[in-house]
């Protein structure tokens, strides 16, 4: 699954922090292009697969507010 997070809205340190916090639930790969951070999630626990990306996106957003 690939999540595209806009560089002007989501910051890199926050994404890294979120990945660190979610690392026990899945494996991540982060790349970037000119406009987006590309967060690829692999080996997601089967019971979490359905909403994983949305939950991760929400978590990153919650960290942005702090």
């Amino acid at each position: 699954m690939l999540l595209r997070l806009n560089k002007k809205i989501y910051s890199e340190p926050v994404i890294k922090k979120a990945i660190k916090d979610f690392t026990s639930l899945a494996d991540f790969e982060v790349n970037q292009n000119k406009k987006y951070f590309l967060v690829k999630t692999i080996k997601i626990r089967s019971e979490l697969r359905k909403d994983f990306q949305d939950e991760f996106s929400n978590y990153v957003l919650s960290l942005m507010k702090k």
Binding site: R4, N6, K8, I9, Y10, D51, D54, E55, S57, N58, L61, S62, M64, K65
Partner: protein, 146 residues
């Protein structure tokens, strides 16, 4: 205000003008909705931000529209808060500054201050009255006899 409802995706998408709604206000308003919805932001914070609100539970068309309205109300709430915070910044800084200074122990202010005395005159400004104007002449009392 334009919005696009996608019932299949259980989602409503709309745009916000960043000049009216700064990114900070959008973050704050979004935070309130994180327990009910999945939120994804995109766009350019200098121009227009796209908000994707997706219900965690299945929502009807009416409920999605209501969510849209609630989100805007929350945005206005945070806009007002940030505006008041901006306006009162100086007063707040002054109050906190005064409180901090008044809580400092007096002895800790400066060790040199406590040693100085009004008798010290390193610049040689003090001139005794007698030196400047001479000794005061005492008037002789004359007893006039009537």
């Amino acid at each position: 205000m334009k919005n696009k409802i996608n019932l299949k995706e259980n989602q409503i998408v709309f745009f916000l003008n960043s000049k009216v709604y700064p990114l900070e206000a959008i973050y704050s308003a979004s935070y309130v909705f994180l327990d009910r919805t999945y939120i994804y932001l995109d766009g350019d914070p200098a121009k227009k931000i796209t908000i994707f609100l997706k219900g965690k539970e299945k929502l009807s068309n009416k409920q999605l529209k209501s969510l849209f309205g609630e989100f805007h109300n929350e945005l206005l709430n945070y806009l007002l808060r940030t505006e008041i915070a901006k306006r009162n910044k100086q007063v707040r800084d002054f109050i906190v500054g005064t409180a901090l200074v008044s809580s400092l122990p007096l002895a800790g202010l400066s060790s040199e201050d406590s040693k100085e005395s009004y008798l010290d005159d390193p610049l040689g400004i003090v001139v005794p009255w007698e030196e400047k104007y001479g000794r005061k002449k005492t008037k002789k009392k004359v007893n006039k006899k009537k």
